[in-house]
C-alpha cells in the first residue's frame, strides 16, 4: 500500500513537471472541458496529460457495437508488450451525459469488470461538451429519436501530451498495427 501511494505521488509529480512545458498546439488537451469519472470526481480533461492512453466514446445503454468497443479495448491493452511499464490507461467518455450519470457509469464499470484507476469512465457536464470532445477527437455521433445513438467506433491513442498518435476502426479483434503504435508510444515516453 505504501509503495502504491509513493508511486501515485511520483506520478503526480511527473504529471506536474510535464504540465509546465507548453502544451503542443495539436494537443486535444487544448480543449477546455471538465470530466466527471465513475467515482464522481471532477477533473479537467487536460489533467489527463502525462499519460499515454487509449480513448474512445460510448454510451452505457448501447447494446450493439459499444460492448464490442469495450472488449476490443480490453484485448488491445492486454496485447501490448511493454516490459517494465505501467499498464496502459483507458478512458471512455459518454456521448449521453443526460442518462449516463455517475452511478450509471459506476455500475457499468463494475458489471463489465473495468477496474479503476486503469479504466476511467467519464461524463461531461453537458451534451455540448460531449460534442466538443467528440469533435476534437474526430468522432461522429447522432442521437436518434428513440434515444439511441449512431456513432463512429474508433479507438484513439493519445501520447503523453495529448497528440493523436494513431487510431483504428478495427473492432472485435486486435489491430496489430495499432498495438505496435501503442508500444512505440510507450517506449518514447
Amino acid at each position: 500500500m505504501k509503495r502504491l501511494l509513493l508511486g501515485m505521488l511520483l506520478l503526480l509529480m511527473v504529471g506536474h513537471t510535464l504540465a509546465e512545458a507548453p502544451l503542443p498546439g495539436a494537443s486535444v488537451y487544448q480543449l477546455d472541458v471538465v470530466l466527471t469519472d465513475q467515482e464522481g470526481r471532477d477533473g479537467y480533461w487536460a489533467d489527463r496529460r502525462g499519460q499515454v492512453q487509449l480513448v474512445s466514446m460510448f454510451y452505457t445503454s448501447c447494446s450493439m457495437v459499444c460492448p464490442m468497443i469495450v472488449d476490443t479495448m480490453k484485448l488491445t491493452a492486454q496485447a501490448v508488450r511493454a516490459p517494465g511499464r505501467a499498464p496502459l490507461n483507458v478512458l471512455l467518455v459518454s456521448f449521453d451525459p443526460t442518462r449516463d450519470t455517475v452511478p450509471v457509469l459506476h455500475d457499468y464499470a463494475q458489471r463489465r469488470q473495468l477496474p479503476a484507476p486503469r479504466w476511467t469512465l467519464a461524463r461531461t457536464a453537458s451534451p455540448t461538451a460531449a460534442r466538443q470532445l467528440a469533435a476534437v477527437l474526430g468522432l461522429q455521433y447522432r442521437q436518434l429519436p428513440d434515444g439511441d445513438f449512431n456513432h463512429s467506433s474508433e479507438l484513439i491513442l493519445l501520447d503523453a501530451d495529448g497528440r493523436i498518435v494513431a487510431r483504428t476502426n478495427v473492432i472485435g479483434r486486435v489491430d496489430p498495427e495499432f498495438v505496435q503504435a501503442i508500444e512505440r508510444t510507450l517506449a518514447d515516453k
Partner: protein, 252 residues
C-alpha cells in the same frame, strides 16, 4: 460589460450594431436526413436565427474582447493554419476581408465560441435546413424548381470570386443569405454520418458506425441539399475554408 465590444469596434472604425435575430415557428420538418435513419420527420422547436451570417467587422469585435481567438493565437487542435489567413493582421482584417463580408476561414470551435459570446449557439442541421428551405413567399419552397435552381447555380459559381457583402434578399422569415453566399457551420456537423461515398456504408465498413444502421438519405431529387450534407460531414472541427462561415441561433 456590453459596452466593451461596441467600444472596441468603434476604435477599430467599424460599426457594430447588436446582431439582429428573427423568429422561426416550431415545425415538423421533412429533412433530407430522416431523424430515425429511415423516414421520420424532425421535430423542431421554435427558435430565433441571426438574420445574416457573422461579418468580418463583428468577428473583429469578438476577437478584441476574446483574445484567445485572435489570428495567430489559436492552437492547431481548435483551428487549422488557415484560420483568418486572409486577414491582414489580428487587429485589422484589411482589403481581403471587408467589414460587411461574411467572416470565413473560421473553425467550428471558433464559431461556437463566437455564438456563446452572443448568448447563442450554432444551429443544428435540422434548424439550418428548415430555415434554408424558405423563399420570399413560402416557409418550404423546396419543391419549387426555381428554389433548387438558385441553390445549384450558386454551387456552380467559380469559387475564386470575391465574396459579396451580407444583406441579400430577405426570405419569408426575414432571414438573408442562407443560400448563395457562404457555406455555414452547424452544431452537429459531425453527426450527419453520411459519407460522400455511399460505398463506405457497405460491407466491412458498416462496423465503423454503431447503432441502428447507416443513415439513409431521403429526397434524392433534392441533391442541392444533399451536397451540403456531404460537404459538412467531410469536415473536421478544426478545418477552415475560404467559403465557410456561420451564423447563430437562440431558443425562443
Amino acid at each position: 460589460m456590453r459596452a466593451v465590444p461596441i467600444l472596441a469596434a468603434l476604435l477599430a472604425g467599424f460599426p457594430a450594431a447588436a446582431a439582429e435575430y428573427a423568429a422561426l415557428p416550431a415545425a415538423v420538418f421533412n429533412s433530407v436526413l430522416p431523424a430515425d435513419g429511415i423516414a421520420a420527420s424532425a421535430r423542431i422547436a421554435a427558435f430565433a436565427m441571426r438574420i445574416e451570417p457573422v461579418t468580418n467587422a463583428q468577428y473583429l469585435a469578438f476577437v478584441q474582447t476574446h483574445p484567445a481567438w485572435r489570428k495567430g493565437s489559436v492552437p492547431a487542435a481548435l483551428a487549422d493554419e488557415g484560420y483568418l489567413s486572409h486577414w491582414a493582421s489580428a487587429s485589422a482584417p484589411g482589403d481581403q476581408a471587408l467589414p460587411e463580408q461574411p467572416v470565413t476561414r473560421v473553425s467550428w470551435f471558433a464559431a461556437q465560441a463566437y455564438c456563446e459570446s452572443e448568448q447563442a449557439r450554432l444551429p443544428t442541421w435540422y434548424e439550418w435546413e428548415y430555415a434554408a428551405a424558405a423563399d420570399a413567399q413560402h416557409a418550404d419552397a423546396r419543391a419549387d424548381p426555381q428554389w433548387r435552381e438558385r441553390v445549384l447555380s450558386w454551387y456552380g459559381r467559380p469559387s475564386g470570386a470575391a465574396l459579396a457583402n451580407v444583406g441579400g434578399a430577405a426570405d419569408v422569415h426575414g432571414i438573408r443569405d442562407l443560400n448563395g453566399l457562404v457555406w455555414e457551420w452547424v452544431d452537429d456537423f459531425n453527426a450527419l454520418l453520411v459519407s460522400a461515398d455511399s460505398r463506405d456504408q457497405n460491407g466491412a465498413d458498416t462496423m465503423k458506425f454503431c447503432g441502428a444502421g447507416a443513415v439513409t438519405m431521403q429526397q434524392k431529387e433534392n441533391y442541392a441539399t444533399l451536397m451540403r450534407v456531404a460537404m459538412l460531414s467531410a469536415l473536421k472541427a478544426s478545418d477552415t475554408t475560404r467559403t465557410l462561415g456561420f451564423r447563430c441561433v437562440r431558443p425562443l
